[in-house]
């Protein structure tokens, strides 16, 4: 049976050997590519011939108002993300704690901040003075809320606390991704629960945590623009202020878009290197740390 088949293939091969090979044709791809190029050409033409003054774009690209807004956007991204990550780690650990009060608080936090719109949270923080006219310890240290919760603080709290609720879930799934054997081995050499988390579990959870958090940093860059509604002067708000004065709406939006793209591109490059760093011990690594100095030999 198999001998017959082999003989058949052998005969075909002999006859086929010298023929020309015509690669498979992907008509669909060509049609799609043509359509996309067409659409692109149309958009480019629109921008080139439309009422866009490119010199104005160039002029405002490095205008002080825009650069100041850019700096504020970056500062807010960094601060809100830092707050979000710290809260995320803390609440993830609380969520997984055997203590029911800690666990309950974490659940409530995640439920509330994921369950309400971000814009609403920003407005809540910004108008906190309506609920708490003063904050601090009554009679000891008190401040007027309006003095403390300005646009910066309201944005930071709004974005950071909201981010924390999402990051907590990411951190938790990262922690769960680490084999329990790692925790048991850590305990067996006498580590406490928190030391085990810090030294053994979290570093390995990073591999799972970094990609989604990286995406969230990138979202955060753009999310900061929402703070324009509570007068935080990030790049988009400053662009608006400028175009209310000079009516160069599209030009200034293009300037803002350009800066967002630049920042996001840089972040993506950073994320690549961070992911590579935390994949160590996973077979993709070249450079090794050396514990050389103190061999004590």
């Amino acid at each position: 049976m198999s001998a017959v088949t082999q003989a058949g293939i052998g005969r075909d091969l002999a006859g086929v050997a010298g023929l020309r090979i015509v690669p498979k044709r992907f008509y669909g791809r060509w049609v799609a590519a043509a359509l996309i190029l067409l659409a692109l050409a149309w958009v480019v033409k629109a921008f080139a011939q439309g009422q866009i003054a490119w010199p104005v774009v160039a002029q405002f690209f490095t205008a002080p108002a825009i650069l100041g807004g850019l700096v504020n956007t970056v500062i807010m991204t960094v601060c809100a993300m830092a707050l979000g990550i710290v809260l995320g780690v803390v609440f993830a650990i609380m969520y997984m704690s055997p203590n029911p009060v800690l666990r309950g608080s974490a659940l409530f936090y995640i439920w509330f901040f994921r369950g309400t719109p971000l814009l609403l949270q920003l407005l809540l923080w910004f108008n906190l003075a309506l609920v708490f006219p003063t904050i601090g310890i009554p009679g000891v240290m008190e401040w007027r809320t309006i003095d403390i919760i300005g646009p910066f603080m309201a944005t930071l709290l709004g974005l950071g606390m909201n981010q924390g609720a999402y990051t907590a879930e990411v951190v938790r799934s990262g922690i769960l991704s680490v084999d329990v054997g790692q925790t048991e081995a850590a305990k067996s050499i006498g580590m406490t629960r928190l030391t085990t988390l810090r030294r053994i579990v979290l570093p390995q959870a990073m591999r799972v945590i970094i990609p989604p958090v990286g995406n969230e940093v990138i979202s955060m860059v753009k999310l900061t623009s929402i703070a324009s509604v509570i007068q935080y002067s990030e790049i988009l708000r400053n662009a608006q202020t400028v175009y209310y004065a000079n009516a160069r709406v599209i030009e200034l939006l293009i300037v803002s878009a350009g800066w967002y793209l630049i920042v996001v591109t840089l972040l993506q490059i950073g994320q690549y290197f961070l992911e590579r760093f935390f994949s160590k011990g996973r077979g993709e690594r070249r450079a090794k740390p050396q514990i050389a100095e103190e061999t004590g030999a």
Binding site: E184, A186, S188, I189, G190, R199, P203, Q204, G283, G296
Partner: protein, 259 residues
């Protein structure tokens, strides 16, 4: 009850451990003297791992009591009450014992040397210079000095298990627990791990070894326990239990393993 003395490093008295309705350990009593090499054999699911894990407090027992190195584990006695210990106190009690797992459980994100010095560094807070030298000496002892900067993933199972033994020894435990240390290994790698354990036994280390390597048990054990269904069925000198077992269940098990 059980006859225990100051010469015993582990005393388990009427220990019970339940998972739901399943009694993984049913009224287990066992005293193991300092310097012993106690082998534990028995069929799958008989509670061998559970017993080791209870001794190291990776599981909490439901009844009875365990003393390790003269200290009641998991609780402090206050008058006629037993107060549960805190996480930090349990961590301190675990310092008496080292544990070697079936699946090695080396810290994957650390190199071999980092794995070994992690405990002395973060738990004992000893100076790095000292512990690196000690770590290297341990690596020499298990024959893997040249692998100091490798990651676990780059090592064979046998090498990983030898590193895991070195990591446990770095904490200078009085007692070493081995839970089927060679069961996850390819047959040709079993020998190198057993050699390290033989060496350790010869150096006078107290060891409790759960194993299916009956040859090793016969050669190295000072005493053998046969467990089945959460109970200790038979206990005695290796030649008695392994060669001329008293109980039918032991005989069946040994016959099955040797086949």
């Amino acid at each position: 009850m059980i006859n225990a003395s100051d010469k015993d490093i582990v005393v388990a008295a009427n220990v019970t451990k339940q998972f739901g309705s399943l009694k993984a350990l049913n009224d287990v009593s066992l005293a193991i003297p300092f310097g012993a090499v106690q082998c534990i054999i028995g069929p799958s699911g008989s509670g061998k791992s559970t017993l080791l894990r209870c001794i190291n407090q990776l599981e909490k027992i439901d009844g009875g009591a365990i003393w390790v190195d003269g200290e009641l584990i998991g609780y402090r006695r206050v008058g006629d009450e037993l107060h549960e210990l805190s996480d930090a106190e349990i961590a301190r009690q675990r310092l008496t014992t080292g544990m070697v797992f079936q699946r090695f459980n080396l810290f994957n994100h650390m190199t071999v040397l980092q794995n070994i010095i992690e405990g002395p560094l973060t738990v004992m807070k000893r100076p790095r210079r000292e512990i690196v030298a000690e770590g290297m000496a341990l690596l020499e002892r298990v024959g893997l000095a040249e692998k100091r900067d490798s990651y676990p993933i780059e090592l064979s199972g046998g090498q990983q298990q030898r590193i895991a033994i070195a990591r446990a020894l770095a904490m200078k435990p009085k007692l070493m627990l081995f839970d089927e240390p060679t069961s996850a290994l390819d047959p040709e790698l079993v020998g190198e791990v057993l050699a390290v354990m033989r060496d350790l036994a010869a150096s006078g280390m107290t060891m409790i070894v759960v194993t299916h390597e009956l040859g090793f048990a016969r050669e190295v054990a000072s005493d053998v326990v046969f467990m089945d269904k959460g109970e200790i069925v038979e206990r005695g000198a290796p030649d008695a239990v392994l060669v001329a077992p008293q109980h039918a269940r032991t005989r069946d098990f040994i016959a099955a393993v040797l086949k």
